[in-house]
Symmetry: C2
Subunit: 301 residues, 2 copies
């Protein structure tokens, strides 16, 4: 039995927090404790988001730009894999009672992915228009205006196609190691000839987690988020918690789900369920124990 569990943003940072190491560690302590019901059951691979962390890191790159060269976005993603991976390792190992290791992970995308035609994902700090135009000229960035908040870089968010380090992840799992992989959706990359080339893009971490789970032939994909389950008519007084959805039912629900939030989680779950015949589970860390027993969360497929 192998499970892939994707930690959402709230496992690392809560509203009002800035993302200090101490804050992230305290949040991870709770989140890792919540993983206990998954730990008796077999092998585990942990993935995680990196939104606020990569935002902080890009800001650091910019603010020091005159003294230390800013690194490309794909290396900032790599940096957050290490930052978060080190914290997960510290907090998960005592709960799991077995070794946890973090593997730097690249994820391949297609050169002709339509996302490259139309970058939509805002990353990094806000700028005034003059600075934004300068970055556009000097670094080839695409920038967009965000009403009231200023200008911001946008990057493509292509579909993940292949986890480069898959065999290494398999080898670690086989050795009884809990692997932290695909952090932040993985370092976006393409093959240029025989060379792996990082790309200035970001990959949705739920999609990447689903891809990894499918490639590993995992028995279970668990996507942890703020809410206990998927809801129909979420946020209205008629909201309805959904306990079980077939792939088709989940797909029919997609248009009403929030685009950058619950929708990719349900899409990723449907992809996993269809490819493997196993169910995916969407729930919160707090409800995970109940969800595994079918009394909470949303089971898809």
């Amino acid at each position: 039995m192998t499970a892939v569990v994707a930690l959402g943003g709230n496992a690392l940072m809560r509203p009002g927090e800035r993302g200090t190491a101490a804050e992230q560690r305290a949040n991870l302590r709770r989140a890792c404790e919540a993983l206990r019901p998954l730990l008796n059951d077999g092998e585990l691979v942990v993935t995680h988001g990196n939104g606020p962390q990569v935002g902080n890191e890009l800001l650091r790159h910019e603010r020091a730009a005159e003294e230390a060269p800013p690194l490309p976005l794909y290396l900032a993603v790599a940096q957050t894999q290490a930052e978060i991976g080190a914290l997960v390792e510290s907090e998960l190992e005592p709960v799991a009672g077995r070794p946890v290791a973090c593997l730097l992970t690249h994820v391949l995308v297609a050169e002709d992915d339509p996302a490259f035609e139309k970058p939509t994902k805002p990353v990094g700090p806000f700028y005034d228009e003059a600075k934004a135009r300068e970055l556009e000229r000097e670094r080839g960035w695409q920038v967009v205006h965000d009403a009231g908040r200023g200008w911001r870089r946008v990057v493509p968010s292509p579909q993940p196609l292949e986890v480069v380090e898959l065999e290494a992840i398999r080898a670690l799992i086989a050795a009884g190691t809990i692997v932290v992989a695909c952090g932040g959706g993985g370092i976006p990359a393409m093959r240029r000839g025989i060379r792996l080339a990082g790309l200035d893009a970001v990959i949705d971490k739920d999609r990447a987690s689903s891809l990894l789970a499918r490639e590993l032939g995992a028995d279970r994909l668990v996507i942890l988020t703020e809410v206990d389950a998927v809801f129909r008519r979420f946020g209205t007084d008629k909201q309805e918690e959904l306990r079980e959805l077939s792939g088709d039912e989940a797909e029919a629900l997609l248009p009403e789900l929030a685009a950058g939030s619950m929708r990719p989680k349900v899409e990723a779950s449907v992809e996993f369920a269809r490819a493997t015949g196993h169910a995916a589970l969407i729930t919160s860390p707090a409800a995970l124990g109940e969800a595994i027993e079918g009394r909470a969360g949303t089971r898809i497929g």
Copy 2:
């Protein structure tokens, strides 16, 4: 046959460079090409320094400190493992023709290591005295004055005792993967109860590489640096290139070697040779091919 090869600073950054990703990649391309003679011979583990990279990263943390919380030094070390590991992976894989993977690596040190009594290793940017005193008060740093250049943080450089992720590294090697590990000497850590705790310290990368080579039972430790070999009376008109040294001869030479430079390399080599009965090799990337055949470099033990 397993070799551990430690890449020196010049494999990543050359004099006058600032450490852009493009510069580091171009340098690594040359360095990885130079590793070819080691690649036909069996398994390979690559370690590397991170001096300028962690300096840049700490500077980024400081310059953005009002907007994004500075991370502790041990996480900055982790970040450089990912930055450099991603670049090594891209450049080494095409030369090696087999998978390369970077594993986040912690290295345990002793709580009572005398280095904690007397931090000596300067890290990060220079400050004026007022700012330095503020950091001393607010973050508990130790700072020292460096004549003519300002104030700077100093941290301990304790002895590495154990590579935490050793079994994971073994599993990756057994799977035919070239492993990038112990970057920057590893993330310094202690066990606090059952929990791994990162420490604000730095570990000498040659010592950590020697420890890793010993723990793996490697057949060969190769330390790559700027010069082709160890010299007696280096920099004088009587300098003498040393082709072979016994452990005792190498030890007798230590006092005349540069403390932060050739001395730890020779010490690390002696430790490896004495523990394993195998020789260590100190040479430059350019001379490596000749050195393996005994026509260049310094063989110790």
